[in-house]
């Protein structure tokens, strides 16, 4: 019998497939197309303390084997999520990850507090909607000039430490490939008591309209995702996984079962699927059967046999 399961801080994942934040809504849309409870987990759309209407102007541009997005964290806010979406999550038999963003450190803390408090209230009724908080530190630090928290290790340390202090919910830090020193960033997360790291978020990138002589995006830069970034993501996951002892979630450009296996071989405990959901509406269930088939063919029983073998 093939066993695909894994865990992070005691949270069970029936398989390594987790849908990436911002690409899967809160799961309802894709649930119309397949039974999403076959998945290991889902990370919801990035939430901030207050609702955000997102960026103005064009928000997407296709590139060779990839796409740029400039959604700007459009989201209904944490309260709205807890009141209107979390109920749907209670009924899901998979690991449920809230992705938490913020424009400054106080927003992260207050957001984490709200989620923590909500979890307590649900727990008292024997319910649960959130298994893990994934902290998105790629957000611009509005107070300090807009440079993302995820660039400098010591700036990020403040956020991780403060959020860790206010929540007992397992905490995963989502790392940005734009970090000055990604390995030191991951080591810092481990030092500060994070239960895991996920990487990579989108790569800061650009597209110019040569006729209009300006960037196609009002924000100048946008985030690159999709197969184009996979080789970079894989290298980064490999580097980080060989330096930390907490679980690493590999993210970036996965579009096939063998892509998933590559990340596992590079040392990832789990993987996240983002852009591929747009390409193949049945991505989750098809990747799952692909992995199972690969393991059968290769005579592999558990992912532990191949994890981090490179």
């Amino acid at each position: 019998m093939i066993n695909l399961s894994g865990s992070i801080a005691g949270v069970h994942f029936k398989n390594p497939l987790v849908m990436a934040s911002g690409t899967f809504g809160f799961g309802k849309e894709y649930a119309q197309y397949y039974d999403i409870s076959v998945l290991g987990g889902i990370a919801g759309k990035g939430l901030t303390l207050h609702p955000k209407s997102g960026n103005e102007g064009l928000r997407v541009f296709e590139t060779p084997s990839g796409m740029l997005n400039s959604v700007g964290l459009e989201n209904p806010g944490i309260k709205h999520f807890l009141e209107n979406e979390a109920g749907f999550w209670e009924g899901l038999d998979l690991a449920r990850i809230v992705n938490l963003g913020g424009d400054h450190i106080d927003e992260y803390i207050e957001g984490a507090l709200l989620i923590n408090q909500d979890s307590r209230i649900r727990e008292a009724k024997g319910l649960k909607a959130v298994d893990i908080i994934e902290l998105n530190i790629s957000c611009p630090n509005v107070k300090e000039g807009g440079l993302a928290y995820g660039i400098k290790t010591e700036k990020a340390r403040e956020v991780v430490r403060e959020v860790r202090a206010v929540t007992s919910i397992p905490l995963v830090i989502k790392l940005s490939p734009n970090a000055e020193d990604l390995v030191s960033m991951a080591v810092m997360c481990e030092e500060e008591g994070a239960d895991g790291v996920s990487l990579i978020n989108t790569i800061s990138a650009m597209k110019i309209d040569v006729y209009k002589r300006k960037s196609v995006f009002r924000n100048l830069y946008a985030g690159l995702s999709g197969p184009a970034i996979k080789p970079i993501a894989l290298r980064m996951v490999h580097q980080v996984a060989s330096r930390v002892n907490i679980p690493v979630i590999g993210v970036g450009g996965i579009t096939s079962a063998t892509d998933v296996i590559e990340f596992i071989m590079a040392g990832a405990s789990l993987v996240q699927i983002g852009t591929y959901n747009f390409v193949n509406i049945h991505a989750g269930e098809e990747l799952l059967s692909g992995i199972t088939e690969f393991m059968n063919n290769e005579g592999i029983q558990t992912l532990d046999e191949i994890r981090g073998i490179i």
Binding site: S53, R59, E62, S65
Partner: protein, 231 residues
């Protein structure tokens, strides 16, 4: 995967593709189509041109890589499609003007076949297409090549105006409603770039006085006054 029954060029750079299978859809709804596994990456949104019990048809203009790839497909080849998506035009009663500019005529054929009491206005920049097809389903088809077809539409004669075409045309319709203080409904079908097509990714959001809406779910058809139209 669905099998292509035919894929015919109906005017320079404009193709009509017929895909076999049983499909659903309302007027103004669309499908996401793709002919590649990965490259080009995103699926392309196309409006329902026509629908029968054993096939669906789309009318598309070749503009870039994705539609170029569609144009190369032959009878017997296959395509992937997801749909029907979007809200489509609401169920309406009363006199209706269907106004299409360029490839924006695509959803109007299906609409004209189903709505009663409609007049059809089709505008083209250089060369008209599918004129015979439209004439075969309606006796009230007005065609204009060059210039603005919107100028031909007397808004006051109608309860509803449905406009589908380039953003400039949608903006002009919105403006005309304001200028003429027209109290009927002006509906526009927006063409925003999309990724997931089902409301999960928020890249196609449209802003308006009541906040942001997803073109792929709450749209692509909106009341003109509900949305800010920018290029």
């Amino acid at each position: 995967m669905a099998e292509i029954m035919s894929n015919i060029q109906v005017s320079p750079g404009v193709f009509r593709i017929k895909i076999s299978g049983k499909y659903e859809g309302r007027i103004g709804q669309f499908y996401m189509l793709r002919g590649s596994r990965i490259d080009p990456l995103l699926s392309r949104p196309l409006s329902i041109f026509d629908l029968k019990d054993h096939y669906i048809e789309f009318l598309y203009q070749v503009v870039g890589e994705g539609t170029h790839l569609f144009a190369s497909l032959k009878r017997g080849d296959s395509l992937n499609l997801v749909g029907p998506l979007g809200n489509g035009f609401p169920d309406i009663e009363g006199r209706t003007a269907l106004v299409g500019g360029g490839i924006g005529i695509a959803p109007l054929y299906f609409a004209a076949k189903q709505l009663r009491d409609t007049d059809i206005y089709l505008g083209f920049r250089e060369e008209a297409c599918l004129v015979t097809d439209f004439n075969s389903i309606s006796s009230n088809v007005r065609i204009k090549v060059g210039g603005s077809i919107l100028d031909e539409v007397v808004f006051e004669d109608y309860d509803h105006i449905l406009v589908c075409g380039p953003t400039g045309m949608l903006k002009a319709a919105k403006q005309k409603q304001v200028e003429q203080d027209y109290h009927g409904n002006v509906y526009v079908s927006v063409e925003n770039k999309m990724a997931c097509g089902i409301g999960a990714c928020l890249v196609c959001s449209v802003k308006g006085p009541e906040g942001t809406k997803r073109a792929c779910v709450e749209g692509p058809v909106f009341l003109a006054k509900e949305v800010d139209l920018d290029d």
